[in-house]
């Protein structure tokens, strides 16, 4: 029962008696020349939507059932019976100007000089998922089992062995082929990469050529995505919600301490604790926290690297300033207090840069509702919104610790604190205004993904979070106006809640650019969307 033929030829079709022309049409028969690369050709007129390619891809790569490097989507248009439903089958588009690659903080991607294939290294990857946000086609997918991202590599090793990729092999209609493309010529005219249901090809210069049905009928002229009625909420990235909020709080606090000339040892120590906590939380966003340090690598290119670099510097300066502030108590009579202020201002400078880099991470074209001026505005305003009440709240522990130290004969500077309700009122007002303008702009936008984000925000799952977040911001102000000093703590809690909720909404309500998917599908665990 074991098969007797010793060797099955490279193309499964060949043995069945298919013509050599057909075989040659699946993969190129000549080697690549200078300036050329491989690309996919997808023939929509041949595809019958059987989804064999999806299964074959998962089998080829041993992937879990929930991760599909090749996906099939549906497009539909027309009026019964002049109606058309066609299919998209897409792996990676192996773009000429790949955004996944540009954003990667650890240089895990490379555009293969031999084949032009955009390759990803699971060993270099730290699982930050920035490529997932950057790709307009949602091609890279995070695998929680591995803690790293993975993606279609056009079955590079098979191609090098002169074998067709798994998807092309499996397609019963020969709708998927590998072709050679001249990169310069394609960059000048990539119109054949465009298709209904696909984001505009120009952003990254997708190399996949798509043969569309001739729009001879009304139906094919209006082919549209069918998956837009129920877009699932995105992942909440809770560690990023906490980390960004906490980093912004510590940055805001430091600014406050510096502005009210309160850079005493105890306050700085408390600030240092907040910062350390924030940075520790941040690494747990990564699939591989132990390799967080690698993220420094690509600071010349990646905003994520820059964020890590700036916040590392921020932490370093805060640590140094704190140590300097404590030197009078140390036995060696190092009188370094005068360095505290310059170090604090250096920390503030890196904090400004870090917060800006942090916001810039989210200014990606593939995530339109993040890619707005409201994102950096929000990050800076949130720093103030949490920083101001935090400044007041720290008074109590700082005074207690100082008193304790004094009692034991340690002379440290005495912090002085006041409440700044008017400043907080102004900040909260601008903060809420920024959100409101953002929501209004999302609603009125011509971009589908913006409007879809708006629908998420006003949908039954999220609208109350939006309301609660704004109410919390107002409440923070009211608490700070209260005559009771301990109410500052409630103000801090309310402000923190406002920022956390708002950040949660920021993450879950974004609607990424993506290829059109199928109407019925497993929409994951993030829940159903607002229509």
């Amino acid at each position: 029962m074991d098969t007797d033929s010793a060797e099955l030829v490279r193309l499964t079709l060949l043995e069945g008696g298919a013509s050599p022309q057909l075989v040659a049409s699946l993969i190129p028969s000549r080697p690549l020349e200078e300036g050329e690369q491989y690309r996919f050709h997808f023939d929509m007129t041949k595809c019958i939507g059987c989804r064999s390619c999806e299964v074959a891809c998962n089998e080829q790569n041993g992937n879990p059932a929930d991760i599909k490097w090749r996906r099939v989507g549906e497009l539909e248009g027309g009026v019964y019976p002049q109606v058309s439903r066609t299919y998209l089958s897409m792996g990676c588009n192996h773009c000429i100007s790949a955004d996944c690659l540009k954003g990667c903080p650890v240089d895990a991607y490379k555009k293969d000089p031999l084949t032009g294939i955009v390759m990803h290294s699971a060993d270099a990857c730290i699982g930050c998922q920035y490529c997932v946000w950057n790709c307009p086609y949602s091609v890279p997918q995070f695998n929680p089992e591995r803690g790293v991202v993975g993606k279609c590599d056009m079955c590079r090793e098979r191609l090098i062995d002169n074998r067709e990729p798994a998807c092309a092999n499996a397609c019963p209609e020969n709708a998927i082929q590998i072709e050679i493309v001249n990169k310069i010529a394609w960059t000048e005219d990539y119109s054949l990469a465009e298709s209904p249901g696909m984001p505009a090809a120009g952003q990254t210069i997708s190399t996949t050529r798509i043969t569309l049905p001739q729009s001879s009928t009304a139906a094919t002229a209006w082919l549209e995505r069918v998956d837009t009625g129920a877009i699932a909420l995105e992942h909440a990235h809770s560690s990023l919600v906490v980390m960004t909020t906490a980093m912004q709080a510590s940055f805001g606090l430091l600014c406050g301490l510096a502005l009210v000339r309160n850079l005493d040892a105890v306050s700085l120590l408390l600030l240092l604790l907040v910062t350390a906590a924030a940075l520790n939380v941040s690494v747990f966003h990564l699939g591989r926290p132990a390799y967080a340090w690698r993220a420094l690598k690509m600071w010349r290119r990646s905003w994520l690297s820059r964020e890590v670099l700036c916040f590392t510097l921020f932490f370093g300066f805060v640590t140094a300033a704190t140590l300097c502030a404590w030197t009078p108590l140390l036995p060696w009579h190092l009188q370094l207090q005068r360095l505290v202020a310059p170090l604090a201002w250096a920390a503030i400078a890196s904090g400004v840069a870090g917060t800006y880099a942090s916001a810039s991470i989210y200014l990606v074209k593939a995530r339109p509702s993040w890619n707005m001026v409201h994102t950096p505005l929000d990050f800076f305003l949130s720093s103030a919104l949490v920083g101001i009440p935090l400044l007041s709240v720290l008074a109590r522990p700082a005074l207690i610790i100082t008193a304790f130290l004094h009692r034991h004969g340690f002379e440290v500077a005495r912090p002085h604190f006041t409440l700044y309700p008017r400043l907080l009122a102004l900040t909260a007002g601008v903060w809420i205004l920024n959100q409101m303008v953002r929501v209004a702009r999302l609603r009125a936008s011509a971009i589908f993904e913006h409007r879809a984000s708006f629908h998420h925000l006003r949908g039954e799952q999220l609208w109350w979070c939006v309301a609660l977040s704004w109410i919390c911001a107002l409440q923070a102000v009211l608490f700070l106006f209260a005559p009771l000093h301990w109410m500052a703590l409630l103000s801090l809690l309310a402000a923190t809640a406002a920022v956390l909720l708002n950040r949660y909404l920021f993450f879950v309500s974004v609607v990424p650019l993506s290829m059109g998917l199928t109407f019925i599908r497993d929409r994951g665990t993030h829940g159903r969307a607002a229509a």
Partner: protein, 750 residues
């Protein structure tokens, strides 16, 4: 139903989501910590390697042995290679040498190796000791079979032999169908035995018998390639037989015409789609015949030599003028004229059909009407010309030929004394041991159980709770049956809710024998795995039961394996139309399957009717029974999708397929949705006169006509057969799944 809530958890990495894989690993504390820190990215589990046959691939899919076999899903009958490593299945590939599929498989086939070790396999016999309310408890095989034989025996003693009803399947090996037939008819001695094939292709069988005197699809897949015109009626092959699609659109100039009220994937492939009104296909066919006769586009010499009934037919179709047919079908006169002319002028014309035709109270007669067209134009028995039933299950054909249900083995007739004598002689039994008439067909067994005539049921490899129409009636039947045995490869299935005894069976991949596909191609099926737990091959179960009934030596003399059944079946089928005697198992395997009867039947124009001539039938077009009205204002159509197989006992176990299409949906035209103020993804309730199916996801789409809705029948969770009509073809006894009246209401907003 409690089984629905039960979520099977993965038992194998290959068939698991990423979260399930993490859970499957059962990591130690140290591994947890290294995983948590990301020190281990599991690269050893995601390595690639070079498979000597198939090249660079995930190391987890590299096999040390490849076994040739035939796919166990649909009747296309694709040749496969299943790779095993250390005896465990790791990969499924199309067999590039197999003439049916040339190395290609659909997504179900490509993932079929995952079925064998799926979590929901039946592993031990289970018995309810104290009635249906008590739980199923594991028992030994000895006890299980003793209980089965003694309970059925005492019921038969009290209520007569015919009080046992047996409902089988299209999933077993031909050798097993042959074995089972003898056991039921000669061991249990009940003729109330039928297969679930009556739910799918009985109309084709009956229609062939009406026109040609015998069952047997006359054509071959090759005819789909070589025909000038391919006319598909009620056949959505792109979803249901996807590997047949590559036979089409291959030859330049070939014209594909698809007749379907819904704009299916197959209709999208067509050069011409004819969006007929539901159940107006007979009018369309008669209308084409009318034009062919009017314009002289018929093969007069073929008709003169090989067909009866032309005169009656001519006067009958005189009424089916293009104008009248246009009114019935909703197609324009110009379209009708053009289709008839294209069909009539074609050098060769192929008509394929599936459930759109068969699932009807007029299914058998519709098939006869299709046969009329082929006879009129002489498109039968020659390349490219055939009236061709594309069957459903992997071995529905084996069951038709060998199983002793709708006919005696080898297409012999119950009613024919000559046939009975011949068979009795072959078996060395007395002729009066053989039944002289067919017993109850599947729906009649169900109705007989409601009436109390059938008291014991033995259900083999089928899942009527999801697949039988009008579920309420079936429930009554099951509730009134005294003893129900369910034999299946999976546990639990929805039908096992009603089982008193569960027998765990081996499935595809664990048994050796043959399947016969739609084009009569007998293909070899091989084992590459052993059944899980105590599960046994159906053949072994049948033999063990025969042993207990004391008939083993009489009906299975000296048999030890399915090959013994094959050898006897060869002798029994020798000289019959479905003659299996000309080839051995090995020859079948080496050739990638061999078609009994050659590439096509009736090459000489001699038909197995008494006078050797086929018969033209006058087939009136009668509107379907349950027309929409003010209260139930939609026509419900049901069907399938490519990712799933029948009631999902198998594909529901394959995580990848299940995640692709995890739930049922209802398709509705935008005009109706607007009228009912429904929105995409709303949850709706489908209600018929019989029952309701709540919470179905709504898909508003132009691929269904206004006034019609469509729903897949795969899902126990949203069971379309709660609402379908329990109305059956008087000839074939096939249910009318395709049309019933329903209303649609919102369950909840999206």
């Amino acid at each position: 139903m409690s089984f629905i809530a039960k979520k099977n958890t993965a038992t194998q990495r290959a068939n698991a989501t990423s979260e399930e894989r993490i859970a499957l690993a059962k990591p130690t504390l140290l591994q947890r910590i290294t995983r948590w820190l990301g020190l281990d990215n599991k690269s050893s589990l995601y390595r690639y390697a070079h498979d000597p046959r198939f090249g660079y691939i995930s190391e987890s899919r590299v096999a040390d042995k490849w076994t040739k076999t035939t796919c166990g899903y649909c009747s296309v009958g694709c040749g496969m290679l299943v790779g095993t490593k250390d005896g465990k299945p790791v990969a499924a590939r199309g067999n590039p040498d197999h003439p049916v599929n040339l190395g290609k498989l659909c997504p179900k086939g490509l993932s079929e190796h995952l079925i064998v070790e799926a979590p929901g396999r039946a592993k031990q016999p289970m018995l309810r000791r104290n009635g249906r309310t008590s739980p199923l408890e594991p028992v030994s095989w000895d006890e299980a079979l003793d209980v089965m034989v003694s309970r059925i025996g005492s019921i038969q003693q009290e209520h007569g032999r015919e009080s046992l009803g047996v409902i089988s399947t299209g999933q077993l090996l031909t050798e097993e169908f042959y074995t089972l037939g003898k056991l039921v008819q000669l061991g249990f001695r009940t003729s109330n035995y039928d297969g679930n094939t009556t739910l799918c292709m009985a109309s084709a069988v009956s229609g062939y018998k009406l026109s040609f005197g015998s069952d047997g699809p006359p054509g071959a897949y090759a005819d789909m390639e070589s025909a000038d015109v391919v006319l598909l009626i009620g056949a959505n092959i792109a979803d249901n037989h996807p590997i047949l699609c590559n036979r089409l659109r291959k030859r330049p100039g070939q014209l594909l015409i698809v007749v379907d009220p819904r704009v299916t994937k197959t209709a999208m492939m067509a050069d011409m789609h004819l969006p007929v009104k539901p159940r107006s296909d007979i009018a369309l066919i008669n209308g084409i015949a009318h034009i062919l006769l009017r314009d002289g586009l018929i093969d007069r010499s073929y008709l003169a030599h090989h067909a009866d009934g032309l005169d009656d037919f001519i006067s009958f179709v005189a009424d089916y003028t293009p104008e009248a047919v246009s009114k019935t079908t909703g197609l324009s006169v110009a379209v009708l004229e053009s289709v008839a002319s294209l069909y009539g002028h074609a050098k060769s014309a192929f008509i394929g059909w599936t459930m759109g035709v068969n699932h009807s109270t007029q299914g058998a007669m519709t098939v006869a009407a299709i046969n009329n067209l082929s006879l009129l134009t002489g498109n039968i028995g020659r390349p490219g010309g055939a009236p061709f039933s594309i069957t459903g299950q992997c071995n529905a054909m084996g069951s038709r030929e060998a199983s002793f249900t709708s006919s005696l083995p080898g297409y012999r007739k119950f009613e024919s004394e000559e046939d009975r004598n011949q068979l009795a002689a072959l078996w060395n039994v007395a002729p009066n041991d053989l039944p002289t008439r067919r017993g109850f067909a599947y729906p009649d067994i169900v109705e007989a159980s409601v009436r109390g005539e059938v008291k014991a049921l033995w259900i083999i490899a089928t899942n009527p709770v999801v697949s039988f129409p009008n579920h309420n009636l079936l429930k009554q039947a099951f509730d009134s049956a005294e003893f129900i045995v369910v034999q299946d490869g999976f546990y639990p299935t929805p039908t096992m809710e009603y089982a008193d005894l569960v027998l765990p069976a081996a499935i595809w991949g664990e048994k050796e024998g043959t399947y016969t596909n739609s084009e009569r191609r007998v293909s070899k099926v091989n084992a590459f795995a052993v059944p899980p737990g105590e599960a046994r091959a159906d053949f072994d179960i049948f033999v063990a039961i025969a042993e207990r009934l004391g008939v083993r030596d009489r009906i299975y003399p000296g048999w030890t394996s399915t090959h013994d059944a094959w050898l006897e079946w060869q002798r029994v089928s020798a000289g019959r139309m479905c003659d299996y005697s000309g080839f051995t198992w090995q020859q079948v395997e080496d050739a990638g399957g061999i078609q009994w009867g050659g590439e096509r039947l009736y090459r000489d124009g001699i038909f197995p009717r008494a006078n050797g001539r086929a018969l033209l039938h006058c087939v009136p077009c009668i509107p379907f029974a349950e027309q929409p009205d003010a209260e139930f204002n939609f026509i419900l159509n049901t069907g399938r999708t490519v990712e799933h197989w029948h009631t999902r006992t198998k594909t529901g176990q394959v995580k990848l397929l299940d995640a692709m299409v995890p739930n049922a949906w209802l398709e509705m035209n935008p005009i109706d949705a607007e009228r009912l103020s429904l929105r995409q993804h709303d949850r709706i309730t489908v209600t018929s006169r019989r029952a309701s199916v709540p919470d179905v996801e709504l898909r508003i789409t132009g691929i269904v006509a206004p006034g019609q809705v469509f729903m897949p029948f795969h899902f126990a969770e949203h069971n379309s057969n709660l609402v379908t009509l329990g109305d059956f073809d008087p000839i074939s006894r096939e249910p009318n799944y395709k049309q019933c009246a329903v209303r649609i209401e919102r369950t909840s907003w999206n």
